[in-house]
């Protein structure tokens, strides 16, 4: 069966520090991969999605970037964190080219202080 791993679960970082969140998917090949951010009491916001290695689409202009160095690995990064980057970050994957059957990881709670 397929599983998605996301880490770390919790992260506290000072303003201006770099960020690296990692996500891996097991048990499938060539998944669609996504990074979402969830603000408290608000819906999920799509940040990035990837349909293949090295292929990244950005949905919103921001201080973050994403990379997909391997088929089942997706990384969310920032060179310098802002206070506004705080939030709950979720990695997700889909086996479908259209993005159906979207499955989420366990999430990373990022606090930028």
């Amino acid at each position: 069966s397929q599983t998605i791993h996301q880490w770390p679960a919790t992260l506290v970082q000072p303003v201006g520090s770099p960020l690296s969140l990692e996500c891996t998917v097991e048990g499938t090949s060539n998944p669609n991969l996504y990074w979402y951010r969830q603000a408290a009491g608000r819906g999920l916001q799509l940040l990035f999605y990837s349909v293949g290695i090295g292929q990244i689409s950005s949905e919103v202009p921001q201080n973050l970037s994403a990379s997909r160095p391997q088929d089942r690995q997706f990384i969310l990064s920032s060179k310098k964190l802002l206070l506004s980057d705080s939030g709950f970050y979720l990695c997700a994957w889909s086996p479908d080219s259209r993005g159906e059957k979207l499955f989420f990881g366990s999430g990373t709670q990022l606090s930028v202080l």
């Binding site: 996301q6 979720l90 989420f104 999430g107």
Partner: protein, 111 residues
């Protein structure tokens, strides 16, 4: 713009009763929907999905109903248990990859 919303922000039900969580969507072109369950501090858990060519789909203790005429989606949970307490939200595909998510309804199960 297009949106997916929920009628009730909080729903309290007695343990053993059935729960019904509702969702309205505004994009008549959406043809695929998912219900998620999210517990505090955890990622959303896929519960059940439905395509627009169906009116009803059943899973284990859950049923999703789709009424395309009034653009309404509902999740029914049979014999609600304490472990069902969570936030539930719906999602629709509006174009490839682009989901629209509701903010959620909190389900509280009373013992």
């Amino acid at each position: 713009g297009e949106s997916v919303g929920l009628h009730l922000p909080t729903l309290s039900v007695q343990e053993g009763d059935n729960s019904i969580i509702n969702c309205a969507y505004s994009n008549s072109a959406s043809d695929y929907f998912i219900w998620y369950k999210q517990e505090s501090g955890k990622g959303p858990q896929f519960i059940i999905d439905i395509r627009s060519n169906m009116d009803k789909r059943q899973g284990q203790r859950v049923t999703v109903l789709l009424n395309k005429t009034v653009k309404h989606l509902s999740l029914q949970i049979a014999a609600t248990q304490p472990g069902d307490s969570a936030v539930y939200f719906c999602a629709e595909i509006s174009g490839t990859y682009k989901y629209i998510f509701g903010t959620g309804t909190r389900l509280k199960v009373l013992a």
